[in-house]
């Protein structure tokens, strides 16, 4: 498959949105565009599997290279492996759901959808880039749309949150930039990921560059203690904004931590692995306990995201193949789950105009569909078998347990204990919102989900179930890619 299609389709959709006449056109164009993206993602999955089935074991498939800034040896170098394919699928799922749940946006519709499509474009570009410069370009391209989405369409302290998010993410990017430049000169003037992977980078350089890259990407994926933009950003953003932020953008960071930092700099990764493990174990526990104290549904999901994303980073830090595969599954699982979570919160907020748990109750009686989805996503979050969260966290924990010294065991046990805390806050939130008596008489008039909201929810639930019930296809996709990363770490 021609990977450029993944960029051209969102770009054309965005341009068409800019030229369209009214809000109705904008919405339908965006919907059709994101439907096309979803179709493309499935075609990519299919052709990828076909290609692998014919015995093509090259690390990257569908490679394409167009020279750009030749004098600096930069080129548009695209290619995908199993990890990228999975991430692209995730992006397509969240994109279409995001477009659907924003159907009622009235304020500056055109601009809203344009920025949303731009965010998706940045994510696709990021996941298919094999040139670090281009990868960085696509990473940064998504910062300003996020800023504007939160600042213009957000709620609460939106300007503050938007500023905080933009500055922290740009700070992370600054570190990534320095790291990438370091790699560029060490690898003999090349930004090419596959080229750099062939060179042996001196140990002392790895010790400098690895932390720069890992912390830089870590900011994007809420590495403790640089997670502080997450609660503010997520809770102020409009629904689709939160879905994109938590569902896709945080995964950019995780992907970068693995693909760029850990894969290219294995010595650095080994050196700093214990710090990563300690920080992510803290993030998992801290996120879980902080969530228990939250009263606002969006804050609940934002803090629980910190905890869940901690599992991805823990998996990466453990440096075993199972744990890394688990980290990747957790990224996908969390992406789908948290997007659905935010979508449901948005639906509830649109109707009740509150996000406070204490002011709700008995929603199951007035809006059974929404409340049921809320149930499903909550159970996924607390790791119920049959849903994606269980598969992901289980894999990470099993992989972590393979390291048999005291430090790794303690971190693993600490992470596992967070699941209990998760169960407490999730069950409590569901019980107080969906169950019990209706506290506000006005709630009796509320309507259940509209067609667009139902469709969005069903798409995401389908994703969650497909991982939860039959995780093997995902595992098969990710395993060869994780193996290549592991081989480099093991020095083979």
């Amino acid at each position: 498959m021609n990977l450029l299609l993944l960029l051209i389709v969102p770009l054309l959709t965005a341009l068409a949105v800019l030229l369209s006449a009214n809000g109705r056109q904008v919405k339908w164009l965006s919907f059709i565009g994101s439907l096309a993206q979803l179709a493309l993602a499935f075609i990519l999955l299919y052709t990828f599997e076909e290609e692998r089935a014919t015995g093509n074991t090259a690390q990257m498939l569908f490679e394409q290279r167009y020279p750009l800034f030749q004098s600096l040896n930069i080129s548009l170098h695209f290619g995908v492996d199993g990890i990228s394919v999975v991430m692209i699928l995730l992006t397509a799922f969240v994109s279409i759901a995001g477009v659907l749940v924003s159907w009622n946006i009235e304020k500056m519709t055109k601009e809203f959808y344009f920025l949303l499509l731009l965010l998706g474009l940045g994510a696709y570009g990021f996941f298919i880039s094999l040139d670090l410069f281009i990868l960085f370009f696509f990473l940064e391209i998504s910062v300003i749309p996020k800023y504007l989405l939160i600042g213009i369409w957000g709620t609460g302290r939106k300007e503050y949150s938007a500023n905080k998010l933009a500055l922290m993410l740009m700070g992370g990017s600054a570190l990534i930039l320095v790291g990438i430049l370091g790699l560029y000169f060490v690898a003999g003037h090349s930004f090419d990921l596959t080229e750099i992977a062939k060179t042996t980078i001196p140990g002392n350089i790895q010790m400098i560059v690895f932390p720069l890259l890992f912390v830089g990407f870590g900011v994007f994926t809420a590495l403790f203690p640089l997670h502080t933009w997450v609660p503010d950003g997520h809770s102020s953003a409009p629904t689709a904004g939160s879905m994109f932020l938590a569902g896709i953008s945080m995964k950019l960071g995780g992907y970068g931590c693995l693909r760029v930092a850990t894969y290219l700099l294995p010595e650095g990764a080994k050196e700093y692995a214990n710090i990563i493990i300690a920080l992510s174990a803290i993030a998992i526990l801290y996120g879980a306990f902080a969530t228990m104290m939250q009263k606002d549904l969006k804050y609940i999901n934002a803090y629980s995201s910190v905890s869940h994303v901690g599992f991805s980073l823990l998996g990466i830090g453990m440096l075993t193949q199972t744990a890394i595969t688990g980290a990747l599954i957790q990224m996908v699982s969390h992406g789908l789950m948290t997007a659905l979570f935010f979508a449901v919160i948005g639906m509830i907020y649109d109707r009740t105009h509150t996000r406070m748990v204490a002011e709700m109750g008995g929603l199951m009686k007035v809006m059974p569909f929404i409340a049921t989805i809320f149930f499903i996503v909550g159970l996924c979050s607390l790791g119920l078998p049959g849903l994606s969260g269980f598969v992901a966290e289980m894999t990470v924990l099993v992989g972590s347990w393979q390291n048999n010294d005291v430090f790794h065991r303690v971190a693993t046990i600490a992470a596992a204990m967070s699941i209990v805390v998760t169960a407490v806050y999730i069950l409590r939130a569901i019980a107080r919102t969906a169950m019990g008596p209706i506290k506000n008489a006005a709630f009796l008039q509320l309507k259940d989900a509209a067609w667009n909201e139902k469709l969005a929810a069903i798409i995401l639930v389908a994703g969650i179930l497909s991982i939860g019930i039959a995780p093997n296809w995902l595992n098969e996709l990710l395993r060869p890619a994780a193996e290549i990363i592991m081989n480099r770490i093991a020095g083979k």
Binding site: L68, F69, Q70, S71, L72, I74, F133, F137, E140, I141, V143, I144, Y147, L148, G151, I152, K158, E159, A162, N163, A166, L167, M170, G171, A174, L175, L177, V178, L181, G182, Y184, F185, I208, L212
Partner: protein, 465 residues
Amino acid sequence: MNDIFTLMKSELAVTAIIFLLLLIKIGKGVRNEALLPIIQVLLLINLISGFFFNKEGALFGDMFHTSTLIAFQKNILNLGVYLISLLFTDWLKKSQHMAEFFMLILSALLGMFFMISSGNLLIFFLSLELSTIPVAALANFDLEKKRSSEGAMKMILSSAFSSGILLFGISLMYGATGTISFAEIPAKLDGSSLQVLAFVFLFSAFAFKLSIVPFHLWTADVYEGSPIAVSSFLSVISKGSVAFIFISALYKVFQPMQAVWYNMLVILAVATMIIGNLFALRQQNIKRFLAFSSIAQVGFILVGMSSSDNTGVTAVTYFILIYVFSNLAAFGIASVISEHSGKENIDDYKGLYKTNPFLSWVLALALFSLAGVPPTAGFFGKLFLLTAGAAKGEYWFITIAALNMVISLYYYLRIVRAVFMDKNETPVDKIKLNDSVKLAFIICGAGIVLTGLFSWIFDFIQSLH
């Protein structure tokens, strides 16, 4: 004789326009409305012709030399002047002395052309003066405004001071090496302390013109007092030209002293970025804001200069090309709004998007480009400066530069926030844009978006060496 016409064609073209304007002025007065389009067309022809028939060569016993790269750099300045003639149409039409305005600006441009092409220290000094004195007169162009005279006075005093330093440096350099020719100086440099002292004086004069910290103090006052058209000329074209000659002097003439100037550049780059950024954080007046932000931008240019190979020259030239588009667009918006509403404070920009979406998007593009955010060209420009600067492997230096990009993003976002997010009971009224202003904004916007995406532009500049 033929060589003069081919090698000096950009200088001759500008001179011809100046004399044409002079004749028009002393002949029958032509109304501004009629004269301005003529000037714009002349400048456009000048710009287009600047792309063709550029040759390499030297004249007058090596006092004047040119190459394809130098011709390209001159044409970047031509582009800037052309954009200025379009952007400030409203202000120019009201002015009683429009012909004089262009005569002065073109004289300064002529000085810059000679400066970039200069082959020895004396012609360099002469052309630098030619490029400064008309600008001081320009700074005083709003005759009825006190601030404008104040700005002009400050400009004259500070540039006289820097000229003094420069002359002193030149005489010391002559004493220490026995030559004023750029071609002969490198062989005579042996790193003696007198030579280093002379170099420091020369360096300071450059630093004055580029408003590098700690020689930046005149900048904000002059920018605030001068008409916006003049501030933009100072901040974009004047700085660009000095950056061109500065980098070629460092790389070619003072190459043997690289160890000395590398350290100076690094220290001054860090100081300039940090101080420019910190002052820009708290400015209320948009002109002062742009003044400090352009100081910070110079800091980034210095980062790129600290490389010592062709990549540095290419990165700086490329960045200034982008800087012409982005900074002129920002100044243009400030001018349009100031002309129509008299407002120059950032708070007055609140709610601009409601009434003037086109202006708001152009402003946002320009600011994002200045901040170095993709997909604007500024991203590529900044990144290549940092790439050039990183060649020496000084991680801390590049980290500071990269973090400064974050600080600068903070204050650029302040304006974006005012324009797009903040509410305002009395936003600026809907402004009906003049066609030529609109054209200029479209050119700037296209430049901001396309210069980065058309990567061959960078490769083209690199191939000019």
